[in-house]
């Protein structure tokens, strides 16, 4: 055995390593060359028969060979492992276009979405959310709201009466009247009152005998019409996104004075004019005003000292505008295909 043979062994090993096809070949080569009984270890045995003066050089050479083979093995092993890993992942390939297993999410009703959006907007401003009975006394529904006897709404023809004194409330104003009475001595009042209301209307694409409103009420010292404007601007921004203009138009409600109808700039065309706003750039969105002094007086609140504002918004109207619903009856039919759309975040 001489150095030439050692080199030969090395070259043989490196060649085999280079030809190795998989990790199994690598393992076999490792055993064949580097294990205790392997060929490189065999060279150590040969050392004994080497003349003393050549031992050092031979030993050095053997170590170099061992080192080179080890490194080559490892490098080849890494290379093959990478290839095998890639192959394995390839074998695990799936069709990502197949239908998924979808955890089915249900939906909140669009009227609930609108109601909660309004509630959240005002709860953030420190309002309480108040409720009241749908079967309501004529007294709270009309009398307290400054709607006198003989007013068309008080006719059996227009409202759903149960008996002479009771009816299905025609507006959520009735809730305000109850709270005003109860909290007259616990001012200020900051309320939002959502709920179902009823009118004696035939159902069609734009009318429903049952619908929902949310009314707001603030009573304190120094409340102005300007405060109403600022508050409503905040609500419209919160419901429809920032950047909408609002406009007040004088109007009439028995329970407010002054009364204003509120328009917002069209959310579809941003005021340019489109079919949704009938070319005007404006959309009528709610009615409001300063609480009528008679309403405050009846509740036992001094209108000389306190003023307040109130507003009422139709939840169906908001839902229809926001979500592009063109028939109010869709909101009450509860077709699963219609409801599906509302699983999206607003």
């Amino acid at each position: 055995m001489d150095l030439k043979e050692v080199i030969g062994l090395k070259e043989e090993a490196l060649k085999k390593i280079d030809e190795a096809k998989d990790l199994k070949d690598i393992e076999e080569l490792r055993i064949a060359y580097l294990s205790k009984k392997g060929k490189v270890s065999g060279l150590m045995e040969v050392m004994r028969s080497i003349p003393k003066e050549e031992k050092a050089a031979f030993g050095k050479e053997v170590n170099i060979v061992k080192d080179e083979i080890t490194k080559a093995l490892e490098a080849k092993k890494d290379e093959l492992k990478k290839i095998e890993d890639t192959k394995r992942l390839e074998a695990e390939k799936i069709d990502i276009t197949l239908d998924a297993y979808t955890p089915k999410l249900g939906t909140l009703h669009p009227l609930t979405l609108v109601q909660e959006a309004i509630e959240d907007c005002f709860v953030g401003l420190g309002y309480k959310v108040a409720e009241g009975p749908e079967v309501e006394l004529d007294y709270y529904n009309f009398e307290r709201a400054n709607i006198p006897e003989g007013h068309p709404a008080r006719d059996m023809q227009d409202s759903l009466y149960i008996d002479e004194k009771t009816l299905l409330r025609t507006h959520t104003t009735a809730i305000q009247m109850r709270v005003l009475e109860k909290e007259a001595h616990d001012l200020p009042i900051k309320l939002i009152c959502p709920g179902k209301v009823y009118r004696r209307d035939n159902d069609d694409a734009t009318h429903s005998h049952q619908f929902m409103q949310a009314e707001g009420l603030v009573v304190a010292e120094g409340i102005t019409l300007g405060d109403l404007k600022g508050t409503l601007q905040f609500m419209i921004d919160s419901l429809f996104g920032e950047g909408h203009k609002i406009r007040f138009r004088p109007s009439y409600f028995p329970f407010t004075e002054p009364s204003v109808e509120v328009d917002m700039s069209c959310h579809m065309c941003h005021g340019k004019g489109c079919p949704v706003c009938k070319g005007t750039g404006w959309i009528e969105i709610l009615g409001s005003g300063m609480v009528h002094p008679n309403v405050l007086k009846m509740a036992g609140i001094d209108p000389e000292r306190y003023t307040g504002f109130a507003f009422g918004i139709g939840l169906e109207r908001v839902a229809m505008l926001k979500y592009g619903i063109d028939d109010i009856r869709d909101l009450y039919t509860n077709d699963a295909r219609f409801l599906e759309a509302f699983k999206r975040l607003d």
């Binding site: 409720e131 002054p258 300063m290 077709d335």
Partner: protein, 800 residues
């Protein structure tokens, strides 16, 4: 309110204002303009004379004409029967624009036609406003001597060059149903002068009368009547006809037109009766007449007690405030008249008009309210016009029943108050100038501004806040500064009930259920046969129809119907819930949650992964929901359904109790209902939400996690079918004591390996202790005890 801008222009200076300006200012002052139309429209119109007219050889009705329009002669083919040589007609030349078309050169049955001869209908005039003998009704309009060939100011000369605004009035502004009041309002809005005719006192003349007038009903508190013995029936003057037509009222003759015209001017409905039909010269207003009555529209109406009726000579002669009668109406040969200018109760007129389906201009005005001085104003104005345009003579003195109780009054306003309410910074001078525009004759007294309210605003302007509004509405809201209330901080929060609802909605929607909102009102059947009604159903006294007559007392029918709708529309796997308050007689009010499940709760066909709904899905969903809300399993007892087995499958339903009270009922909907309602097999829950609101939920309490390992053992027993496994688990837990941490069924087997009437049930039991590692002997001891208990108590045959 149809407002003719031409008429308005006669009363208010509109010079320099475009129609759009006027509309914009009107809208901003609180009057919605619902529509703007031209009374008639045509561009490129010219007066032409038909100088030749021959029959078209290929047609039985067309004429081939030559029409002289001044600077040229046009060949025009015309189909109108009244087209003939010598008449003057409205020529729409090639290129002319009419409401529905643009005129083009054409060949009609082989003959060239360069224009069109027009009917007024083609210019957009409404058919019902034309005179009965108008040529435009059956052919082309024939122009009179006022028109010369080549004239282009045709619409002006016809009085049809008018813009009509359809103005929507708010309930407080019924005064503007009077053109006079509207003119004053527009003058205030536009800040222009207003010139109304002078007519006050014109009815104060008259000879002695023997006319007798009385009312037997409180619903006619004031009535002015006047006999005019001689009038001449003839056509009305052109300006009156034009104003009437522009206002949508057909012109008939001078006398009838005056009654309508005065109503439009003053807002007061008037009626004229033919004097001949009233030999006893008396009118009595009653409200107890019953029977048929023919009104002047030729229709016989069914009059009932309560309807206000005009009677004379012991017979009905008019439906008060709505329409006169056929038997007393003005005819072409009428010589004398009785004038009625009266006040009838608005709500009653409205009820009668609604019931009879007779919505007249008069009825609408009574229903909405009149100027308290309107009866006298109208009578004055009518007399003035009758004298001038109907040769009224033999005028008798006015007869009055009741009286006008109106007293003029003032409203006090201060600068400080106005600015405080509006959030503005207006000066006293600015306020006074607005009040002057409104003709409120403001007087300044110290810090007070006193407004004198005209009678026509008496229904509306009563307190300082009303004045606050008048001022800001005319100044305009555009410049009103938007602020937020300056007030102490308040905490905004939801009540427990409101939060609870939100939690329930969140959990159920996250679990695949869709929330619904359904109608509160239903028919009789929907409240008669229903699950656990909250009480005796409330029936509406004035329902719109039988389908919406009762207030629901349970949610089940609503959810079942909604499921049936979806089934009929091929919507599958429909899982719904609703939260709603129910009402019943005796002030009962209860809020409930209802759930309906059908098909699968989760479904993926490709991956064969789904949860098919069953009694157990609705039970599991409900118990998990309750647990989440702070009502853990330990507080809820699941017991046999002995409350309602007509709506539920008697063996696949149960009741949930909290303490002694029933919290909910749930289970499979009875197969009979499934069949009747054509719904898929479905599972239903109805739960008393009030009970959850009123009960205290458990607080979150962190568990101490044992540091020692637990031991898991399985057990299988053969048990008779009738043995409730829930009971067996309870007994196992009791027998096992504190070391038993959890027991769960992981398999139930029935089949050939097990005797019939039995099932093999496999349990997994987890043992553990928080203070030491369990020894095998310890576990064995407890496990054997459990085995023994099952064997002894339930005859369970141990399988492994």
């Amino acid at each position: 309110m149809r407002l003719s801008l031409k008429w308005l222009g006669d009363l208010v200076d509109l010079s320099g204002l475009s129609v759009d300006d006027i509309i914009d200012k009107t809208v901003k002052a609180g009057f919605e303009v619902a529509d703007h139309e031209r009374l008639a429209y045509g561009e490129g119109l010219v007066v032409g004379e038909v100088i030749e007219c021959h029959d078209h050889p290929d047609s039985d009705h067309l004429h081939i004409t030559k029409v002289n329009i001044g600077d040229e002669v046009l060949d025009i083919v015309c189909g109108a029967p009244n087209c003939r040589k010598g008449i003057k007609a409205i020529v729409a030349q090639v290129g002319a624009k009419l409401p529905e078309m643009t005129i083009k050169k054409g060949i009609i049955r082989g003959v060239e036609s360069n224009g069109m001869l027009c009917s007024l209908l083609e210019l957009g005039v409404k058919k019902e406003l034309l005179d009965d003998d108008s040529p435009s009704l059956s052919g082309i309009e024939e122009l009179d001597d006022r028109f010369a060939v080549g004239d282009t100011d045709i619409l002006e000369k016809l009085g049809l060059d008018d813009d009509i605004l359809e103005i929507e009035l708010t309930a407080n502004r019924s005064d503007c149903l009077s053109v006079f009041a509207m003119a004053k309002e527009m003058a205030a809005i536009l800040d222009r002068k207003c010139h109304l005719p002078e007519y006050e006192g014109y009815s104060d003349i008259g000879d002695k009368t023997d006319f007798r007038l009385m009312s037997k009903t409180a619903n006619c508190p004031h009535f002015l009547a006047k006999v005019v013995n001689s009038i001449t029936i003839k056509p009305s003057p052109a300006w009156m006809r034009e104003h009437l037509i522009a206002s949508g009222v057909k012109s008939i003759n001078n006398v009838i037109d005056i009654s309508n015209y005065v109503m439009l001017e003053t807002g007061q409905p008037m009626h004229f009766y033919d004097l001949r039909t009233n030999p006893l010269k008396e009118i009595t207003v009653v409200d107890d007449y019953e029977g048929p009555y023919e009104a002047l529209d030729g229709v016989t109406y069914d009059i009932k007690k309560g309807d206000i009726m005009i009677t004379d000579n012991g017979r009905p002669s008019g439906i008060a405030g709505i329409m006169g009668g056929e038997n007393t109406k003005i005819l072409d040969d009428t010589k004398g008249i009785i004038i009625e200018s009266a006040l009838f109760d608005g709500p009653q007129v409205r009820r009668t008009a609604n019931r009879l389906g007779l919505q007249t201009e008069a009825a609408m005005r009574f229903a909405k309210g009149l100027d308290p001085l309107a009866q006298k104003k109208a009578l004055d104005r009518a007399l003035q016009l009758l004298v001038e345009y109907a040769d009224a003579k033999g005028i008798e003195e006015t007869v009055e029943w009741g009286k006008c109780t109106y007293e003029p009054y003032t409203v006090k306003e201060t600068v400080e108050h106005l600015n405080k309410v509006n959030g503005t910074h207006l000066t006293g001078d600015e306020i006074v100038s607005v009040l002057k525009r409104l003709d409120l004759k403001p007087e300044v007294e110290g810090d007070k501004i006193i407004a004198h309210i005209p009678s026509y605003r008496a229904n509306d302007l009563k307190i300082a806040e009303d004045i606050d509004e008048e001022v800001i509405r005319l100044i305009g809201y555009d410049d009103l500064e938007a602020t937020l209330p300056k007030m102490p901080m308040t905490i905004g929060k939801l009540t427990r009930r409101q939060s609870l609802r939100r939690e329930i909605r969140a959990i159920l929607s996250h679990n695949g259920l869709n929330e619904i909102v359904s109608y509160t009102l239903g028919d009789k059947a929907s409240v008669e046969d229903t699950l656990l009604p909250v009480g005796e159903p409330i029936c509406l006294a004035s329902p719109l129809n039988d389908a919406r007559k009762y207030i629901r007392v349970s949610l089940m029918n609503s959810l079942v119907d909604t499921l049936a709708y979806n089934e009929a529309h091929y919507n599958k796997d429909v899982n719904l819930f609703e939260i709603s308050t129910l009402y019943a007689k005796g002030d009962i009010q209860k809020e409930r949650l209802a759930i309906i499940l059908s098909g699968d709760l989760n479904n993926s066909k490709v991956l064969h992964s789904k949860v098919e709904n069953s009694f157990y899905t609705i039970k599991g969903l409900t118990l998990e929901l309750l647990d989440h809300l702070g009502f853990e399993l330990g507080r809820i007892q699941v017991v046999k359904n002995d409350l309602d087995t007509t709506h539920f499958h008697p063996y696949r339903s149960c009741i949930l109790k909290m303490g002694k009270d029933v919290l909910a009922i749930l289970g499979e909907i009875h197969p009979q209902i499934v069949e009747e309602k054509k719904i898929p097999k479905a599972y239903y829950l109805e739960l008393d939400l009030d009970m959850l609101v009123d009960s205290k939920p458990a607080k979150i309490q962190a568990h101490k996690i044992s540091r020692f390992p637990s031991v898991s053992r399985d057990l299988s027993f053969v048990l008779a079918d009738e043995i409730a496994i829930g009971e067996v688990i309870k007994a196992m837990k009791k027998a096992g004591g504190p070391l038993v941490k959890h027991i769960e069924v992981f398999d139930i087997y029935t089949g050939t390996q097990v005797a019939s009437g039995h099932r093999s049930v496999s349990f997994n039991i987890v043992y553990g202790a928080s203070d030491h590692t369990l020894k095998v002997e310890e576990v064995n001891e407890v496990h054997d005890k459990i085995k023994a208990t099952i064997s002894e108590r339930y005859g369970g045959d141990l399988r492994s």
